[in-house]
Symmetry: C2
Subunit: 287 residues, 2 copies
């Protein structure tokens, strides 16, 4: 497994891989790897003989009051995990190798990136876009793998790739959950035991919405109301940032479930802001 | 010569060229080709066995009151010229093939793109960046060629390529001029005979600044003042948009010529807005 710290080291390795005509899969991460990340590497490995993983806690996607400094860094364990999962190259740049002092270029995806997490995390998705665009241009993957837990992120990146004609395919992989249903996240480790218990309210509220939709409820407002009530009861330590029923492609809020929707939510605990989502297709429900 | 109208046709052709390991040069144009464009194709041909030219009047880089509708379109002559100059592929997309109705992605290069032409043409360089990024991702060139006449454009694109780690080299080629010194431009054909004559004031004022610098003048203000006076006298039909003495890399205005500078100017005539520039290196002057 190659461990590259500079753009040039990656380019040198990739040049040889390309020359051999091997397909390249990329899994961009911020490290603190868990089973969710490893499932992406598994999906990449199934498609591509050469799997590259980037581990970079990207300052551009953190707001001034966010957890950049304390974001978990577990590089040794991450490298061991990558090795175990058959990764060919890990790119772990320093911040200075990624951003020149006079860097001036920004990428913005209008509408898709401006509500939901984009509303409470100003500039977050611009920061995601810039680092992902750079990683794509450095690693030149045929496919790149993102988790559905960050649904908005995957949508924003998908739109950027389409709009800029970037020559790769974005693969969105299913959410990986703990045994009790909590969506895996590097930030789960911030939770106190009590918060960890209450965090189940996120998936609990999604299951509730799913059940109500299956029972024939088509009004987004009613679903959101029921979810709010569930969270208020099951997670008194949590503060709802948003709950949204939306079109799976445009991410526009939808009033009624006349076709497939994604319900996404964010809940803030004192130590961590958690997100989760679920796709619901009423045309495939009993109703 | 392949004439491609869709992204897929280009990708198919490029895939084969890449498989053969041939270097690809790209010359992005808006058509209405002249000797300036052909010099770029010549430079590309000297470096790369496969030269692609794009001909696309990019709506995204025109302002609402600009000359998009009347911009000269001379496709048959352009194709003949490309053939003559040994071009391998011409990409002439329709606007709909380039921009989806729900396109949402924008690229902005801060500072570099915000003054000079960026001040009087709001959004112009964002439009240039988006189309150039798309063309790079479609054609996947090893090198792309731009003329030094659009100095700010070349700088903005160079910064975008560096900041996004785009895997290609930007080559900036010298300004090509008419016999009497006017910088070649597709917009020169808009000029009335009287304006055409007065348009010589642009290069005339640059020569004057060069002469004054050679004679020891190091104050930008003095050079700009002399240029303004020259243009007022020699081009009474022209209205100066800007004259700037600037750092060649950052494009920041410089008060004194303590190193190499670029002097750039834009002058509006009733029928066309013209630009020109000159690099002056006082350390290599007689003084």
């Amino acid at each position: 497994m190659i461990i590259a710290k500079t753009v040039e080291e990656v380019r040198d390795a990739i040049r040889q891989v390309r020359r051999q005509g091997q397909r390249i899969g990329l899994v961009p991460t911020m490290g603190a790897l868990h089973a969710g990340h490893y499932s992406l590497m598994g999906a990449a490995k199934a498609d591509c003989p050469f799997v590259a993983v980037s581990i970079f806690v990207n300052p551009a996607q953190f707001g001034p009051n966010e957890d950049l400094a304390k974001y978990p860094r577990t590089l040794e364990a991450d490298l061991a995990g990558c090795r175990e999962h058959g990764v060919s190259l890990v790119f772990t740049p320093e911040s200075a190798a990624m951003y020149a002092p006079d860097a001036a270029t920004s990428i913005h995806v209008a509408r898709l990136s401006e509500h939901l997490c984009g509303a409470s995390r100003k500039g977050h998705f611009d920061g995601v876009c810039i680092v992902v665009a750079k990683l794509f241009n450095i690693v030149l993957p045929d496919k790149a793998y993102f988790g559905a837990k960050d649904y908005q992120q995957a949508s924003v990146i998908g739109r950027m790739v389409r709009d800029l004609d970037m020559p790769l395919e974005i693969v969105v992989c299913p959410i990986i959950r703990e045994a009790d249903g909590l969506a895996m996240s590097s930030r789960n480790r911030y939770l106190s035991p009590q918060e960890r218990q209450q965090a189940l309210a996120l998936i609990g509220s999604l299951h509730l919405a799913d059940k109500l939709a299956k029972a024939g409820q088509r009004e987004s407002k009613a679903l959101i109301g029921a979810m709010r009530q569930h969270i208020a009861t099951a997670a008194p330590l949590g503060q709802i940032d948003y709950i949204e029923v939306m079109d799976p492609d445009s991410l526009s809020p939808t009033d009624r479930l006349d076709g497939p929707v994604v319900i996404a939510l964010a809940v803030k605990f004192s130590s961590a802001r958690l997100i989760d989502n679920m796709r619901i297709d009423p045309t495939r429900l009993g109703g």
